[in-house]
């Protein structure tokens, strides 16, 4: 186990270093002069040069790269050109909002994906399976923003099921005292069911949308892996022992299909935390890191962009590292194979 952890940490460190190097050079190619943007339209060339020097942008690329690596080792992601604030602080302030939305979306994606995938496997090649396939195609092909706008129009304005998307809490609810940064959790810890319910209601619609858009890939992989598992010798053995259909489906079918499903869930987790949430955060005025990244890209906020990408890189690495341990739980043969 210790050897596994050491190996994983080593791989994680190399991956993050690779991302850091890559993003430095890619951001050098972005159009626009960050110093001019920071100084503003009214700034003289002298003032722009001062800003350039203040952010180290007047140095050569190799010198900037060395300085950048040195800062990274110290955990310093630099200061945002747009806000003058440390990028790490800004990302950490916004992270709980993204995590709260992302984790609930992921949960919904998993429940929906596994549930529909299993049903699709059970009713393989019949009407139920075809209906689920249709859902998968539609959900994969439909643009997130279009679905979101339609959902907001129907569920918020027409039917009043959810609150207006104005952020993490509706009007009149102050944020709970900060413990985790997750408003639902913090409100529950404070014993404030009212605010917890309001926070959850504000969270549900964007999470359902993001989870539904993310679910199709899970449905497909669960379906194909479960069908394969249900056709196997050990499943036939379980049937001959007289186990119930439900028991066979979950213990022999789904349980043995978990490895590729876990891999896919890792990819989905990356999507809901890093990619899919940008649009959703914009539409729902959700104050997460997705909106921060979008703004940074628009204004060529070099250090904020780099910080965001490294942040996401670290998140992906952590997710993949966690997956490695989940594999061991799902299939003990993985641990045995590593041991030998």
């Amino acid at each position: 186990m210790l050897r596994t952890i050491r190996t994983r940490l080593g791989v994680a460190a190399v991956s993050i270093a690779g991302v850091a190097v890559l993003i430095f050079f890619i951001t050098q190619l972005l159009p626009g002069d960050p110093a001019r943007l920071a100084a503003g339209q009214y700034a003289t060339e002298e003032q722009v040069e001062q800003v350039r020097a203040a952010y180290g942008l007047d140095q050569s690329i190799p010198a900037q790269f060395v300085s950048y690596l040195g800062d990274l080792v110290r955990g310093d992601l630099g200061s945002s050109i747009r806000t003058s604030q440390p990028v790490l602080d800004e990302l950490l302030t916004r992270l709980p909002a993204t995590l709260e939305l992302g984790l609930l979306s992921l949960l919904i994606a998993i429940v929906l994906g596994v549930g529909l995938g299993v049903l699709s496997a059970v009713y393989a090649h019949r009407a139920g399976d075809k209906a689920i396939q249709l859902f998968v195609v539609i959900a994969s092909a439909t643009a997130v923003f279009w679905v979101a706008l339609l959902a907001i129009y129907l569920f918020v304005n027409q039917w009043g099921v959810f609150n207006s998307p104005t952020g993490r809490l509706p009007r009149g609810y102050p944020p709970p005292e900060h413990v985790t940064g997750f408003y639902v959790v913090d409100a529950l810890l404070a014993g404030d069911l009212n605010t917890a319910g309001a926070a959850l209601r504000a969270l549900l619609l964007p999470a359902i949308l993001l989870g539904t858009i993310a679910a199709p890939s899970i449905v497909k992989i669960v379906r194909s892996s479960t069908i394969r598992a249900l056709d196997s010798d050990y499943t036939r053995t379980s049937r001959s022992f007289g186990y119930s259909r439900t028991s066979i489906l979950f213990q022999d079918g789904l349980r043995n299909a978990l490895l590729p499903v876990i891999t896919n869930i890792g990819l989905v987790a990356g999507f809901v935390l890093a990619g899919g949430n940008v649009l959703i955060e914009q539409l729902f005025a959700w104050p997460g890191i997705g909106g921060y990244a979008y703004r940074s890209l628009q204004e060529n906020d070099l250090f904020a962009l780099r910080g965001y990408v490294i942040f996401i890189g670290v998140a992906y690495v952590l997710i993949n590292t966690l997956l490695e341990f989940l594999y061991r739980w799902a299939d003990p043969r993985v641990a045995l194979a590593e041991g030998s």
């Binding site: 100084a39 429940v111 102050p174 028991s247």
Partner: protein
């Protein structure tokens, strides 16, 4: 033999509990008495009053800091407070010129305090004005219009409540500019406590902290919203009827902001697009404030480009513009005509009605000019750069592309993000952009946008006669002479057509019915303490 499915049952119960929790909750715990929620399309990036910042940040800074003078408004009419055209005392109880109008003396009100209770004195005023005129931010470019030669010597604290501003010569802009939020009064001792060797003006401190001297103070800035509460130590005006709390929300999507307005989740939405403004206008539960401003949208033609060096080409382009279609179809009627670079309602504009066009739409006339210049049918190809995030400019560009095609001019549209667009101003061949001058002064407008060699003269226009007229207008102290010189310069600009003067954009603000007190100010910012919410 039964196999354990307890985990599945536990998950099902957890899901049901979540749904139950989501259904829980009654009305919000706080009574929303005298609270106003204002949605902006941008976030609050920095609250340093001397840094270039977002629209929402301008909204915050303009309401947390007091200035020596403030804009004087007419009594409310149909919910709007219109700028009277002059300044009134604010933190200063008086502003008096000496005989030859080279010294402006400010007498501060008694017992002024910052939000933390510390006294506001002339030393704070001195520090604040010197900071504004320093190189800490862009405000120094505008500060030169105060006609102060040396801020370290020409701004003097005569005593604890008196400040003298010594100017080279009088300008009508001095008093109006001192009402701008770029000349706020900051707490000198708080600032100096945070200053450092590489940050003598405490830029890092002021980016996120405020030493409020205005009607509001920042209660919190996080999670996409900034909350302002009344400054209990503000005594320069009676704020009894002002909202107790103002929440500034970042809502980047206009459609969502409109839906939130309909649902009562927000009270004011600032900066609507024309499409959304039309929807607000049709909704009987909402009110649209359509405020004419001199925010001019223009086609910039780089006068250094071989094509646009020829004034005939520039005039031809101006004659091809679909002015009516742009105002009615793109801007849905929420726009005015632009007569030259100084459009109505700017002071001293040649156009006193907002209806005049510098050039008519005349396709045959344009073709003739192009042929004379050697660009007959199909011989002219241009690349029009467009800022991708500006909806009305993008839509206008499509109309313009089509209109130019009528005369055989091929236009390729190049959409650029903000960063790339702003970095290339001054270098692009042909671009569409907008400009709004705080103060809406004609001479200021022409100085920054069209004077030879200015870094904001993005079309590289150069006309010695116009330069001379503008310089003379800046130097004169006689208002009638200033107007005459300005209008002569305006005519030169119209004749030379460095731009195609497309239209002026109105500022569009949507509110719930019953919200009044919208300020039509010289900087297009809302004064939150003037907002009133009925019911």
């Amino acid at each position: 033999m039964r196999r354990n499915i307890g985990l599945r049952r536990a998950l099902a119960v957890a899901a049901l509990l979540c749904l139950a929790a989501a259904g829980c909750g009654g009305p919000p715990p706080q009574a929303a008495a005298k609270e106003v929620i204002v949605a902006f399309p941008s976030d609050v990036d920095t609250i340093d009053p001397h840094q270039f910042r977002s629209v929402a940040a301008y909204g915050v800074v303009g309401n947390i800091y007091g200035t020596l003078l403030q804009e004087d408004y007419d009594a409310p009419a149909d919910g709007v407070l219109k700028y009277k055209g002059k300044s009134a005392p604010y933190l200063a109880e008086s502003a008096t010129w000496n005989t030859d109008r080279t010294v402006l003396t400010f007498k501060l009100r008694k017992d002024l305090k910052f939000a933390d209770g510390s006294a506001l004195t002339s030393e704070d005023v001195l520090y604040s004005l010197q900071r504004a005129l320093s190189d800490v931010g862009y405000a120094s470019a505008i500060g030169t219009w105060l006609n102060v030669k040396d801020a370290s010597k020409d701004i003097v604290a005569a005593d604890a409540s008196t400040v003298e501003l010594r100017v080279t010569h009088y300008s009508p802009l001095i008093e109006s500019f001192l009402a701008f939020q770029i000349f706020p009064i900051l707490d000198k001792s708080a600032a100096q406590a945070k200053a450092g060797g590489d940050d003598p003006w405490s830029a890092k401190f002021f980016a996120k902290e405020a030493t409020a001297s205005g009607p509001y103070t920042v209660e919190s800035m996080a999670q996409g919203e900034t909350t302002l509460t009344k400054n209990p130590n503000f005594t320069a005006a009676d704020e009894g009827d002002a909202p107790d709390k103002v929440v500034i929300k970042n809502m980047p999507d206009q459609q969502q902001a409109f839906l939130a307005l309909q649902n009562g989740a927000v009270d004011v939405v600032y900066g609507l697009t024309p499409d959304i403004a039309e929807s607000v206008k049709k909704d009987s539960g909402l009110k649209l404030y359509d405020l004419p401003y001199s925010d001019i949208v223009y086609l910039g033609m780089n006068n250094k480009d071989p094509v646009f060096k020829d004034v005939r080409v520039r005039r031809a382009i101006s004659l091809l513009m679909p002015y009516e279609a742009l105002r009615s179809d793109v801007m849905k009627g929420f726009a005015g005509a632009a007569y030259g670079a100084v459009p109505y309602p700017m002071g001293d504009s040649l156009d006193t009605t907002g209806d005049k066009l510098a050039y008519p739409t005349d396709v045959e006339g344009a073709k003739k000019l192009l042929a004379e210049a050697g660009y007959g049918d199909g011989k002219l190809s241009l690349t029009l750069s467009v800022p991708a995030t500006e909806v009305s400019l993008r839509q206008s560009a499509v109309f313009i592309q089509s209109a130019l095609q009528n005369a055989g001019v091929t236009v390729k549209l190049s959409e650029l993000n903000d960063a790339e667009f702003n970095s290339n101003l001054g270098k692009m061949q042909f671009y569409i952009d907008s400009w709004f001058s705080w103060g809406q002064d004609s001479v200021y407008q022409m100085f920054f946008l069209l004077k030879t060699g200015l870094f904001t003269n993005y079309t590289n226009f150069s006309n010695p006669e116009m330069d001379r007229l503008v310089e003379q207008a800046m130097a004169t102290t006689d208002a009638a002479e200033r107007r005459r010189l300005s209008q002569q310069a305006q005519q030169v600009v119209i004749d030379q057509a460095p731009w195609a003067f497309l239209f002026t954009r109105n500022t569009l603000i949507g509110t719930r019915a019953g919200v009044t007190g919208i300020t039509q100010s010289n900087d297009a910012n809302l004064r939150f303490d003037r907002l009133r919410v009925a019911g």
